[in-house]
């Protein structure tokens, strides 16, 4: 049992070459055939951040909290959510949409969510670059704490890989999962303090909201880019996050591993 679990995970590493070539193709397929090509990867986040800036800094004149412009504060949290939602939304249908690979080739389908994550990280890193550009434009201080974002990114990848495995496998058997996930992501978006500050909530509610693992990551992004606060300042939150994430990761992998032999029968 444990041995086959580790073999399941090890196969992902053994297939890294295939993973990267498929991820490269996945990214390229978004831009292939368009004249501007990869430039589009930059246009999208730039326009979005520009609109935030226009609406919140110029339009509503929301006052900077603690000298942090709202648009920076928002974009930092938002970037983490976007990549998470992109990975989860994209993972759900992966097995179903790659049925031809699963039924007709000797293919380790557990690499599909990994490929999705890697290709999503490409767009995400562009977003981060644009975000850093915005921070510099706002004449905010620069710091090595920026690098801490890699830690939170890793947190995000482990969490979303576990979820991706579970959801993509279950969706093969219950196709409603795709719809349910889309709805849940909408709810979670507003349930996670992205557009609003958690401090506006009463302390008791704050405790409940902090149970959401995405809260840890969104908060971590802001601390890396704005507040320059290391993650070991929240030892309990960090421990809680990893406990939840490891459980999700292991359960996701087990669900996938258990259901995988039946994919070819049902697809």
């Amino acid at each position: 049992m444990i041995k086959s679990f580790f073999y399941f995970i090890r196969l992902v590493f053994l297939q890294k070459e295939l993973i990267f070539s498929l991820a490269r193709r996945e990214v390229a397929s978004h831009y292939i055939g368009s004249l501007l090509g990869f430039i589009w990867a930059f246009i999208n986040p730039m326009v979005m951040i520009f609109i935030f800036w226009l609406v919140f800094s110029i339009g509503f004149r929301i006052k900077p909290a603690n000298d942090v412009p709202f648009v920076v504060w928002l974009a930092a949290g938002m970037s983490a959510w976007f990549v998470f939602a992109d990975i989860i939304n994209g993972s759900v249908g992966l097995i179903v949409s790659n049925a031809h690979l699963i039924k007709k080739t000797m293919f380790y389908s557990q690499i599909l969510p990994v490929i999705k994550i890697i290709s999503s990280l490409f767009a995400h890193s562009v977003f981060i670059l644009v975000l850093i550009g915005l921070i510099v434009f706002q004449k905010m201080p620069f710091s090595l704490y920026y690098l801490q974002v890699f830690y939170y990114l890793m947190c995000l990848c482990v969490l979303s890989l576990g979820l991706g495995w579970a959801l993509s496998a279950l969706n093969v058997f219950v196709r409603d999962i795709g719809q349910i996930v889309a709805v849940l992501l909408q709810i979670c978006f507003w349930g996670t303090p992205i557009f609003w500050d958690i401090l506006i909530m009463p302390p008791r509610i704050q405790k409940i909201l902090q149970l959401n693992p995405m809260f840890y990551i969104v908060q971590g992004y802001r601390e890396s880019f704005i507040y320059f606060c290391p993650f070991w300042r929240h030892p309990y939150q960090t421990m809680y996050f990893w406990a939840v994430t490891v459980v999700i990761f292991v359960i996701g992998a087990i669900i996938f591993q258990k259901l995988k032999p039946q994919f070819a029968d049902v697809l």
Partner: protein
């Protein structure tokens, strides 16, 4: 340890007898057939475990071994479980019971171009497809020239795959798969792609692989390939092994099964197949015939779009018969076969000419004649008359699929040229033929040849 090996729990990498490379033991695959999705859920949650499904055995108790360097062809009719068996061997599907043991690096080619993305160039797709088949980038670099040469699609390899013709597409896909250099190659129905030239290239490459010690497991309907390339074969029918062993015998069994299954057809004597090609005159063998005019609506419907001519005489039916006057769709080399045409006249005709020819699947006319050529005179016909003409000949064709075309026309008074074509039916009847006596006919037809030497 190979990187790309099946890892499903029922597949074990045990030390088998040294020379066995694939061992299939008692494999059974049962599908649960539900009438609806609701039934599936009802069964899952039913408190008393009521059964809502019907069991369907796609495979029952399949066992066989493939030894190192040996090859196996799996044959059988559509739906006999061949592809399911391959999927189980590859570890794509899990059997309901039984086990599969294998060693070595497996490359499976169950569908050509699975994983091709039409937006990318052939070159890019080659790399990704090779990666799916288990090659690293360096390994693909080393093989790229070979793959490109094999596919032989020129500079199109640098164009998006969506611009390819379907022939180019399968050629590229096959070129990748066959150049992966696995220990075991598992192929499903992939030989029947491309033009004849490419098919030959594939066959040659398969032979090379076999000679270099690659174990090939192939599902195919191409019986001549089975007989010429494979030592051993397994015949499946409804998920059960009917026969396994020497490929020649298994193929014979297959044909026997096929012919038995066709209701009303006579099995051309399998016991006394060794007829000699001795150039007996046709007239000696002619049997009394039951030549009654029959109009066949099904035939007319089928050939509606394959006709040309004035329509003043109509070919109302075409038949392909064996010597027992039974209609056939398959025949053996050296059988006597008869092409019969039923014609109805709607006009008077002084000099009537009827002809036929047999085309192979490339549309090349191989056998044929007409009444002029044979100097065969038929008395004048009146409107309303019927005419039945038999062309009887010995089947000298090599294995393959053929079609029969028939035409009726009027000629000038001396029978030198046609003045008008009444009716011309392309591909009115199709049939396939197989050689049972001669091992191989390498030419389109075989005619008796006298050999002398000093």
């Amino acid at each position: 340890m190979p990187v790309l090996c099946a890892q499903a729990p029922y597949i074990r990498f045990v030390t088998m007898k040294q020379d066995t490379i694939i061992s299939v033991r008692d494999v059974t695959k049962t599908y649960r057939l539900y009438k609806s999705h609701a039934d599936r859920l009802k069964e899952t949650f039913h408190p008393f475990r009521r059964k809502y499904h019907d069991d369907f055995n796609a495979l029952s108790n399949i066992s066989f071994d493939v030894k190192k360097g040996h090859n196996l062809a799996i044959i059988g009719r559509n739906g006999s479980g061949k592809s399911t068996l391959l999927q189980i061997i590859c570890g794509i599907m899990r059997p309901t019971s039984g086990s599969v043991e294998l060693t070595g690096k497996i490359s499976a080619l169950l569908e050509l171009g699975a994983g091709f993305n039409p937006e990318f160039t052939g070159e890019q797709n080659v790399y990704v497809n090779a990666a799916i088949l288990g090659l690293s980038r360096d390994q693909t670099d080393a093989r790229f020239e070979r793959i490109a040469a094999f596919a032989d699609i020129g500079d199109f390899i640098y164009q998006p795959v969506k611009t390819y013709s379907s022939g180019m597409y399968v050629r590229l896909a096959f070129a990748v798969a066959i150049n992966v250099d696995p220990d075991v190659l598992i192929v499903d129905e992939a030989l029947a792609v491309g033009d004849i030239y490419f098919q030959h290239k594939c066959m040659r490459r398969m032979k090379e692989l076999i000679q270099s010690g690659v174990t090939i497991v192939l599902v195919t309907h191409d019986m001549s390939a089975v007989k010429s390339l494979f030592k051993e074969a397994v015949l499946l029918d409804r998920g059960v092994i009917i026969k396994k062993g020497e490929s020649e015998k298994v193929v014979d069994e297959y044909y026997y099964q096929m012919m038995q299954e066709e209701p009303g057809h006579v099995i051309p004597g399998f016991g006394d197949i060794v007829k000699e090609i001795d150039g007996q005159s046709i007239k000696d063998k002619k049997t009394p015939r039951d030549m009654v005019f029959r109009k066949d609506e099904e035939f007319l419907k089928r050939t509606k779009d394959m006709r040309s001519g004035t329509g003043q005489v109509r070919i109302q039916n075409m038949e392909l018969l064996n010597d027992s006057e039974q209609p056939i769709t398959r025949c053996s080399f050296d059988d006597w076969i008869t092409v019969r045409g039923h014609m109805e006249f709607f006009t008077d005709c002084e000099m009537v000419n009827v002809g036929f020819h047999i085309r192979d699947r490339n549309g090349i006319e191989i056998i044929g004649t007409n009444l002029f050529v044979e100097r065969f005179y038929i008395p004048p016909k009146k409107a309303g008359d019927h005419l039945i003409v038999d062309f009887r000949f010995r089947n000298i064709l090599r294995d393959g699929n053929y079609s029969v075309t028939m035409a009726v026309s009027e000629s000038d008074d001396h029978g030198r040229f046609n003045t008008r074509t009444f009716d011309w039916v392309d591909n009115g009847v199709v049939f396939s033929t197989v050689s049972k006596t001669l091992k191989h006919i390498h030419t389109m037809v075989y005619v008796p040849v006298e050999i002398n030497y000093i």
